[in-house]
């Protein structure tokens, strides 16, 4: 097996030596035709003989206890096979491999509105849903903590994904600085809002459980399922070849998967459950609401001396995820004194968790607006202010950066966007009823390499097959793995078959944290490297002297077709990528710069984003088209987070007020302007074997702040409580002529 722990970055990787020239090409997604024609089958569409349908029962109060459940009428309803409410394993919401069992095994305690409490199983989906309304639940309600006070956290600096950053004497340096900026911000609840709701088909084959489930990881999910059901994870198989979006919400295993498994065991038949759109809001996790305080102190020339970023987030009892609000801020700007912490307030809300760009999405919204405000107060152009504060090494720990082309992103973006046309004075450009403004912001997303395995087989016919339990959640995994293998083995892409989305395949990182593509690609490249070594041996050559191109191996002045060289025997190799000491020795991140032009209606305060330009440093570009699509999607998310998205909880009942796409507003096409995206490519061999850095969550980082800054430039109004809806602008709009 080809192991690789990032310890020899000076060594040229397999992909650097390759000459097939397919990696990075903007190849159409190979799964595209199946998806748009309906041939791709999603979890709920998988056929199963004799399947039953379940509908999850949910709580109609936000806090308290269930006194009694009378399900007699439901059990007697047409088509109903079972009503399950007593199995202690029935989870309150999604399950995972890291929280305590008691966090979701709540029994008859109700800790949030919409909590799962049972399941009706029937011959049809409609019968199950209709019968669910017949279940009579008697509650003993309590006053819940529905509007947590984020000014008064319950837990100070709880352990989370990112430790606090505390360097230098922040208080003293801040207090003594020439220029001080100090501002509070708030961000609301965000839903992952995947198009495909959580859905599962569960069936048992003897004591083995097979789940067709819409999840971001397959192998990783088996552990959570095993824990939730008190069974051996080795007896769980998770299959997910197609996933209709995840955005973090499918990193945990949906409650419906566990309900379906229990119901299938109980009835002896396969069971399908899909969460309704309104159920997803409470049963999948959301991005926590935050209150943030940003403090920036500089000298007279605008050099940052102290940078503070403090956040308070909300989480329900016993859930351990802490939104890592300062994750992007940690390494972004200079300033020897740093104080970056996250505190937590407990709330009787559904679970908060990792939603696309955890930390950066909400953190950069505040920090990149703060940078804009500070630059203006200092009389500096926002790009110049950032340039003056570009660190040479990490200001948090003194470690060197991997590739970091942030300054180049600013410069290229400014040139392409026409930043020099911007008026620094707000409310100075008017077109008809609209104020026009321009803004920019930096993007940063931590790059993480996660352990991943892949098996690559070079078949006797000269084609290749890669197997890994990765998922493709709409991101392009099928296509980029095809390209990596084709590049490394010198094959035409159509000679590479990709098998993913099944936990019985070699374990990968799954999709999440922007680590899926780079980690899986690293494992694939390592497997290919081992195959190349064996091919070289067949030519009595060193691997470094072997060239693989167009199905031929060339070494020592011999060019041999692979089919001939293989001599009828396939070569199989396992690749195993994992983080090593370089992971700790460097600070690795993806970077970018966003530029936005907006229009603000002078009468109504409506905001329209007119165009955006983004320049990004993501290391090696594996597929220019899928990478671009990831970035564009992320930018649209940024637009949603700054203008629209707001998951509202009723202060009295604790219910989500707007748990559907009618009233939880994500950007429509009409809200999404022309978006220009360019990459400044530099292979980052410090990052991982593939030289690629994460891209899936980068576009979302900073995009909203660029829009917020453009809104200020358009009409002179700063809004610190997101989203910037028109009511927050209305009263402060400049007077009409």
């Amino acid at each position: 097996m080809a192991d690789h722990t990032l310890s020899s970055p000076e060594r040229l990787s397999t992909l650097d030596r390759a000459v097939q020239r397919v990696l990075g090409q903007p190849i159409d997604r190979t799964d595209g035709p199946a998806k748009v024609s309906g041939d791709a089958r999603y979890s709920f569409e998988i056929e199963a003989d004799n399947a039953l349908y379940g509908h999850i029962l949910t709580a109609g109060i936000g806090a308290g206890r269930i006194d009694a459940i009378d399900a007699d009428a439901a059990r007697a309803a047409p088509g109903v096979v079972a009503v399950l409410v007593d199995d202690p394993r029935l989870p309150a919401d999604a399950v995972n491999s890291f929280d305590k069992l008691k966090s979701w095994r709540l029994g008859h305690d109700i800790r949030f509105f919409g909590q799962a409490i049972g399941v009706v199983v029937a011959e049809t989906q409609e019968a199950a849903r209709a019968a669910a309304r017949l279940v009579d639940i008697r509650y003993a309600p309590q006053q819940g903590r529905f509007t947590p006070d984020l000014s008064h956290p319950d837990e100070i600096e709880p352990e989370g994904l990112r430790p606090p950053v505390k360097t230098g004497d922040f208080d003293a340096i801040f207090a003594g600085a020439t220029f001080r900026y100090d501002q509070s911000y708030s961000t609301p609840i965000h839903f992952p809002a995947a198009m495909e709701p959580q859905a599962t088909l569960a069936r048992w084959e003897d004591d083995e459980l097979i789940l067709h489930s819409s999840l971001q990881s397959t192998g990783g999910a088996t552990k959570a399922v095993g824990r939730a059901l008190d069974i051996d994870p080795q007896k769980v198989r998770v299959i997910a070849p197609f996933v209709g979006g995840g955005f973090g919400g499918k990193t945990s295993v949906g409650a419906e998967a566990i309900y379906a498994a229990i119901a299938a065991k109980h009835t002896g038949r396969p069971v399908k459950i899909v969460q309704t759109r309104r159920q997803v809001a409470a049963l999948a996790h959301h991005r926590a609401p935050t209150r943030q305080r940003v403090r920036i102190a500089t000298d007279a020339d605008g050099h940052i001396r102290a940078f503070g970023h403090h956040a308070v987030i909300a989480q329900r009892d016993n859930r351990s995820f802490v939104e890592p609000v300062h994750i992007g801020t940690t390494h972004l700007y200079a300033g020897d004194a740093r104080l970056m912490t996250v505190d937590l307030a407990r709330a009787d809300h559904p679970t908060s968790g990792a939603v696309r760009s955890p930390g950066e999405a909400c953190g950069t919204l505040a920090v990149e607006v703060a940078m804009d405000e500070a630059a203006e107060a200092l009389g500096l152009d926002p790009i110049e202010f950032r340039r003056r504060n570009e660190p040479k090494v990490s200001p948090a720990n003194g470690k060197p950066f991997g590739t970091r082309k942030l300054i180049e992103c600013y410069e290229e973006g400014a040139r392409r966007f026409g930043w020099d046309q911007r008026s620094a004075k707000p409310a100075s450009r008017r077109e008809g009823d609209w104020w026009i403004g321009h803004g920019m912001a930096a993007a940063i997303r931590s790059n993480i390499t996660v352990e991943a395995r892949a098996t690559v087989t070079l078949e006797a016919d000269g084609s290749a097959h890669i197997e890994t339990d990765m998922t493709d959640i709409g991101t392009g995994t099928y296509t980029i793995l095809m390209q990596v293998v084709a590049e490394a083995l010198g094959l035409s892409p159509d000679r590479v078959r990709v098998s993913i989305g099944d936990s019985s395949l070699p374990r990968s990182a799954g999709s999440g944290g922007s680590f899926g593509a780079s980690s899986a690609s690293s494992a694939a490249a390592l497997a290919c490297q081992e195959i190349a070594g064996k091919l070289a041996a067949k030519l009595d050559a060193e691997a470094k002297d072997l060239t693989l191109q167009d199905g031929h191996a060339t070494a020592r002045n011999r060019r041999v077709p692979l089919t001939e060289l293989l001599g009828g025997e396939a070569i199989s190799a396992k690749g195993h990528a994992k983080p090593g000491k370089h992971t700790d020795a460097h600070v690795s991140a993806s970077y970018g710069a966003h530029f936005a032009e907006v229009a603000v209606n002078a009468f109504t305060g409506e905001v329209r984003v007119r165009r955006m330009t983004g320049i990004f440093d993501i290391g090696r570009v594996l597929n220019e088209k899928t990478a671009r699509s990831q970035i564009v999607g992320g930018i649209v998310w940024g637009i949603g987070s700054v203008l629209h998205e707001d998951g509202v909880i009723d202060p009295h009942s604790g219910q989500f007020v707007n748990p559907d796409f009618g009233e939880y507003h994500i950007p429509t096409h009409a809200d999404s302007p022309p978006i220009e995206v360019h990459f400044i490519e530099e292979v980052d061999n410090l990052a991982n074997e593939a030289g690629a850095k994460g891209v899936g969550e980068l576009g979302n980082s900073g995009a909203g702040a660029a829009v917020a800054n453009a809104i200020y430039n358009a009409c002179g109004i700063r809004v610190h409580d997101f989203p910037i809806t028109l009511d927050k602008l209305l009263s402060a709009l400049p007077e009409q002529d």
Partner: protein, 328 residues
Amino acid sequence: MKTFDYSRADSPEAAVQGGAVGNTRFIAGGTNLLDLMKLQIETPERIVDISRLDLNEVEEGEDGGLRIGAMVPNADLAANPLVTARYPVLSRALLAGASGQLRNKASTGGNFLQRTRCYYFYDTAVPCNKREPGSGCPAKDGFNRIHAILGTSDDCIASHPSDMAVAMRALDAVLVTLKPDGDRRRISIHDLYRLPGDTPQIETVLEAGELITHVELPPPPVGKQSYRKVRDRASYAFALVSVAAIVAVDDGRITNASLAFGGIGPMPWREDAVEKALIGQVPGDAAFNAAADILLADAKGFGSNDFKIPLARRTLIAVLRELTGDAA
């Protein structure tokens, strides 16, 4: 979804016969009703499918008006050359509503009868006087961003979601109906809707089984027309405030004004006094503000919808400026 009986009517007469029986609903496009049935907010025992009735024509009346079949899809009505030429306010209102797919399915008759989008109406786990009379109204002291500021009652503050009906109200539309007893009647849109009072579950004057067969528009009023919809995103959101306006200016003075409002009331809102205040005036912010004062004299916010009061004023002024621009 609760099980129901389904029948397809092959004539309006057959439809109303079926529609008069017990808990029956007509279904045309189903763009609202099916959603409500899935959530069991509507639980009809019988569905009479009227979607194939021969009510698909848009005809020119002898008086220069229009007679629109109740089954004409919103998309078709919006694109009809007679509508775009003479009633652009209606075309624009239709296109401001929903999405392309929904407009292809939604019918003219059904659009008038959309139910409110009140968040609490949509959640059967919580009280709602409109859904379960007497159970209470959590919207009043809850989240009420999209709710009404005019015409509300202690029992209900829901707003009417239609765009089309707002334009229809500015155009003095008349609904032609067929009743189960075979009678036809003509109902002015000004008489169609009821204020919530203490019976918010009763939204119109239509009787059980009464079917809208046509909508008649009088000849287009004199003046320029506009439909301005303000919402929380650029498309596919219900109006926070909308204004359907037809305004004529002659010799420097406003000679005709027809103004209807969406998003601010439990029905498409129109008030004669607002228009009277404008007629005879020189176009300008003074006159526009005076009209807005009248419109909003009784406006009442409930917290998260307070902003609709200034927003309605500002939107009205923007529309009046637009329509009187050359003359102002």
